[in-house]
Symmetry: C2
Subunit: 138 residues, 2 copies
DNA sequence: TCCAAATCTGTAATCATTACAAAATTATAA
DNA sequence: TTATAATTTTGTAATGATTACAGATTTGGA
């Protein structure tokens, strides 16, 4: 678990982002929670400790983080964008309980630098179905 | 090129969808065009020949088609949903020209019925970067 | 401490998607 | 064919996530 604020500050500085307190707390939230939150979910969670924050700042900084490669934007849910503080894995979306589950599994395509001549910079692997728990429950 | 209306009618009936004229034309559009259109793009294209259609009907029937497995919903573009009349391939999105390109390439994960115990019903593979043409052009 | 630049907030606008009721179409039976 | 009920389609309004923007605040350096 990465909680040390100084360490998070360094993550931001490493990609040339000025480490304001809001940004540190936002990145801390993304690195600690594994819940693939929406912008609003992050806003509501951080609001408890930082009552003056705005949803706009959350969105703006999430976009900044994504642009700098600090977080991953997930388009898994057609209703709203979700964010992930960890990169490099596939995702599973359960049609019963709506949970998003990490799939750290090897894939022969994601190592490729080019596919059919197209330069690959990033990738998303989404899987849909019924999760292990929901299968058991009925 | 699949253009025969009778053949498209049979595709609809095969999945228990009543083959109204609008639905036949909508599926015809999706099967003929390879442009991964948005709902609005389809609406504007079909409107030229069917002036009375509504955007609501396009959306409703696209959702119906997707539910019956006739078309694929692409969550590639954060701004809007795109639709694909063909299934079973990965997609590439060029950050320069915004083109969506099919990637009919083998992947060792998509054949799996289960991953970590989760039942797989469908999957999406997205790749992002710079397409072949845009690399050459600069 | 003072100042300019960057960031943040609060509110309003945007716009894809959905909800809903009325009109039109379709299928079925008399 | 005609009547009737069910389904589909239309037109409009509502929803809600995301974005735009201007003013307030914070930040870092002189
Ligand atoms: Mn994840
Ligand atoms: Mn395709
Ligand atoms: Zn589940
Ligand atoms: Zn391109």
């Amino acid at each position: 678990m990465i909680t040390d604020l100084e360490k998070i500050k360094k993550y931001l500085q490493a990609v040339k982002i000025k480490p304001t307190y809001l940004r540190i707390r936002l990145l801390k939230y993304l690195l600690e929670k594994k819940n693939h939150p929406t912008g609003k979910m992050i806003y509501q969670a951080l609001k408890k400790e930082l009552p003056t924050i705005s949803l706009t700042s959350i969105y703006n900084n999430l976009e900044l983080f994504a642009k700098k490669g600090l977080v991953k934007i997930l388009l898994l849910d057609p209703k709203e964008i979700r964010f992930d503080g960890e990169k490099g894995h596939h995702h599973f979306f359960c049609e019963k309980c709506q949970k998003i589950i990490d799939l750290p599994i090897d894939c022969n395509l994601i190592k490729k630098k080019k596919i059919f001549g197209h330069l690959i910079k990033d990738w998303d692997g989404y899987f849909f179905g019924i999760c292990k728990d929901c299968q058991r429950d009925g």
